[in-house]
């Protein structure tokens, strides 16, 4: 946990603010109206000067230091409060990061304002049925026609899309070029004519989190092209990088909480302090306890190195590969200890992150081994980019 002395006041101020501000019945408010509750929540954070945490003052953010941002994520994870920034996560990170790096002044003006005012939820429209791990083989077409592009195609696995107003879109603009060099990056209004968002029900039962998006002759004005035409792949890679950083910290903290709750169950099962350490359950707990604390060191170490050295260390590339299977192991441990009760349907909504439903936690952990480049793809990346192993000659 970030403990720099000058952060102590910031932390206690934020903690007090959370206690005063978050209503005790936030879970039922969230259930009854997901959208308006999320709008209220991110607006309250913004008005108090806490959000969007990593936005600079130039674009209307609070201009917090990296360590202050960390405090925000740590405290919102550990307090009894809703997931933050919830529905606005894609808008706050991917859209902001992409536009501030690659967007025009006009794009920044046009799009960051509505995000800041919590008027627009954004989603990502990248993956396709035939372009998952091999994202660069995507086939959705965008054809230039005067001062607009005409888009046709199908996107899938778009998180947040059932509630989204706009999306960041990758589409092919040059089918003749090598696959990485014929893709462009667009901003698309999902309320445009020809857009059809169809929610996908997930294995957890959640229906408001995930969708397919169909584009039929959808018009995108040229001013919504980000960067140069056919430069979308490079731009998308900077967006994907936004998925790491301080945002992984809440995941580690939640994992620590989940393990603590499993531990309580384990100690109930084996109360004898002489037997617990040598029992299979005690041994399994100790192993996971060590792993979860190592994960935390890995994340904070990456941040510390970033602050001190200005670049992430080699461990940053393994965060996902280490974190995701660990989530599966911790939730499997909780599930085993809970017995049949762990299979009772308690909650299935992702937004209701305080779920005590061990099976939902367990199933949800596969999000982490699949999304954002599956762990098989991560192994290729580590093998080739970190260890310098040669590429598969058949992979173009």
């Amino acid at each position: 946990m970030a403990q720099d002395q000058n952060l102590v006041e910031f932390r206690s101020g934020f903690r007090n603010w959370l206690e005063r501000t978050v209503p005790g019945d936030w879970k039922s408010l969230l259930q009854s109206d997901l959208r308006s509750f999320n709008v209220w929540w991110v607006s309250a954070m913004r008005d108090a000067g806490y959000g969007p945490p990593h936005w600079s003052k130039e674009v209307g953010g609070p201009g917090l230091s990296l360590m202050q941002q960390l405090v925000i994520y740590e405290e919102t994870t550990q307090a009894d409060c809703p997931d933050y920034p919830g529905l606005f996560s894609c808008a706050y990170t991917h859209v902001h990061d992409t536009l501030t790096l690659h967007g025009t002044d006009e794009q920044i003006q046009t799009h960051l304002g509505p995000i800041l005012r919590a008027e627009r939820v954004w989603a990502q429209a990248f993956s396709e049925p035939e372009a998952g791990s091999d994202l660069a083989s995507l086939r959705t077409r965008a054809v230039r026609d005067g001062d607009r592009y005409i888009v046709n195609g199908q996107k899938i696995w778009s998180t947040l899309a059932p509630n989204a107003d706009w999306a960041i879109l990758l589409a092919r603009t040059d089918p003749e070029a090598p696959k990485h060099r014929g893709i462009s990056y667009f901003l698309v209004d999902l309320h445009s004519h020809g857009v059809d968002v169809r929610p996908i029900k997930q294995i957890t039962g959640a229906e408001d989190d995930f969708a397919e998006i169909f584009f039929t002759d959808v018009e995108i004005p040229v001013e919504n092209l980000v960067g140069r035409e056919n430069d979308g792949w490079r731009i998308a890679n900077t967006t994907l990088a936004a998925e790491r950083g301080p945002l992984a910290v809440p995941t580690a903290l939640k994992l620590r909480d989940a393990l603590a709750s499993a531990r309580a169950a384990a100690r109930d099962e084996i109360p004898d302090p002489d037997i617990f350490p040598v029992s299979a359950v005690g041994q399994r707990y100790a192993q996971l306890h060590g792993e979860v604390e190592i994960l935390s060191e890995m994340l904070y170490g990456t941040l510390a190195r970033f602050v001190e050295v200005g670049e992430p260390g080699p461990e940053s590339s393994i965060i996902k590969l280490y974190l995701a299977p660990l989530m599966q192991r911790v939730s499997a441990f909780g599930l085993d200890l809970a017995g049949a009760a762990g299979h009772h349907e308690v909650g299935s909504r992702r937004q209701d992150r305080a779920s005590d439903d061990w099976l939902v936690n367990h199933l949800g952990s596969w999000v982490w081994t699949i999304a954002g480049g599956s762990n098989q793809i991560q192994r290729n990346i580590i093998g080739e980019k970190v260890l310098g192993l040669p590429r598969d000659p058949l992979v173009k």
């Binding site: 350490p277 100790a286 604390e293 890995m298 393994i318 192994r379 290729n380 580590i382 310098g388 598969d392």
Partner: protein, 370 residues
């Protein structure tokens, strides 16, 4: 915490150590020593003394350079990387015991020769049982002004090469730590040859051995605290050895699979091989992070030093065994030969898992404190 940035001095220490060991403890030198069943390279031991490795943490007035466990950790990592034979860790632990009692006569008698490397020291801490409880192997009984020592310690590293042994014993239910001059103490020391020839283990038997009271370094609570300190350092020392060894075993595997051709392709282009290498990298990094955390906690006297030293021990030692095992698998038949060097790493990795407490024993320690 992780060691995110070394000071220029630490960086230099790390680099010099690596350069010296690359030359003085190359695979062919390690092979020469182990094939001839020599315990270790006395010449390198002398160089280590000249370079100040032994006295790295020893206070300046006792002839050391008064650095921290962080500096010591850098050397231990490099020694693991080259599977260097020799009583380096044992010696450091014994020096730590003496340095904790700088006014004790044993410090004046031994320190200078231990820091220079002229004399060698080892420790007999006892065993860490399945419940994670540390138990000295010897019993001591008061007789006259001194003590009488009885008991058998199995598989104690390096004590057969030592001039001085730091020995843990129990007087009834109180621990005591002794600094015994091997030349004047009639212990029965028997070498137990191990498959890992880079380490030397000995059984030590004491049968009515009289110990002068001047050899008592600490008693009671002070002895208990000293032993806890030594256990943490021993566990972390093995973890650091594992970090260095795992990194090297991975490097060897990357090099080999990047040049070995089958089916007309370099085998590292196959995902079955590439993904194994990626997993080996994850294991190596996890080991490093755990060992770093333990090192920093020990150096700072932090509250989580018990936790981290045990986590580092089981996680890094297990990671090393996994990585070295995968390295053998990736090398195929050549890795099964005596002639090829890889078995040095695998054997040391497997022995590391059981030295100074098994992985299960260290997990039990973690489970017990939670």
């Amino acid at each position: 915490m992780q060691i995110t940035k070394l000071t220029p001095e630490q960086q230099a220490l790390s680099e010099v150590t690596r350069d010296v060991l690359a030359k003085e403890s190359s695979p062919s030198k390690v092979r020469d020593i182990t094939e001839s069943r020599s315990p270790f390279d006395r010449n390198l031991w002398k160089i280590a003394g000249d370079l100040g490795w032994h006295g790295i943490e020893v206070s300046a007035k006792l002839g050391g350079s008064a650095q921290s466990f962080i500096e010591a950790s850098l050397v231990l990592r490099e020694l693991g990387r080259t599977t260097t034979p020799g009583p380096y860790l044992s010696h450091q632990l014994a020096l730590r015991a003496l340095d904790s009692y700088p006014e004790h006569p044993a410090a004046a008698t031994w320190m200078e020769r231990l820091v220079s490397g002229e004399a060698v020291a080892a420790v007999a801490l006892g065993v860490l049982d399945r419940r994670g409880v540390a138990r000295p192997d010897f019993k001591a009984d008061a007789r006259g002004g001194g003590l009488v020592l009885n008991g058998i310690a199995r598989d104690v590293p390096d004590v057969g090469h030592a001039d001085l042994a730091v020995i843990a014993a129990m007087i009834d239910s109180d621990p005591v730590v002794l600094a015994a001059d091997i030349s004047t103490t009639p212990l029965n020391v028997t070498w137990q040859p191990t498959h890992d020839r880079t380490r030397s283990l000995f059984d030590v038997e004491a049968s009515g051995v009289e110990i002068n009271s001047a050899a008592v370094l600490a008693r009671g609570r002070a002895a208990g605290a000293l032993l806890e300190d030594l256990w943490r350092r021993a566990a972390t020392g093995i973890a650091l050895d594992a970090v260095g060894g795992a990194a090297k075993a991975l490097e060897m595997t990357v090099a080999y699979t990047s040049q070995r051709v089958q089916y007309g392709r370099v085998i590292a282009t196959f995902q079955a091989v590439k993904h194994t290498c990626a997993d080996m990298f994850v294991e190596s990094e996890v080991a490093r992070i755990a060992a770093d955390a333990a090192t920093l906690e020990i150096a700072a006297g932090g509250q989580r030093r018990d936790f981290w030293s045990s986590v580092a021990k089981f996680r890094a030692a297990d990671a090393y065994a996994q990585v070295a095992g995968d390295a053998l698998q990736m090398h195929g038949g050549i890795g099964m030969t005596w002639e090829f060097d890889l078995h040095y790493w695998l054997k040391r990795a497997k022995l590391n898992q059981v030295l100074y407490g098994s992985s299960d024993a260290h997990r039990a320690r973690v489970a017990a404190e939670s």
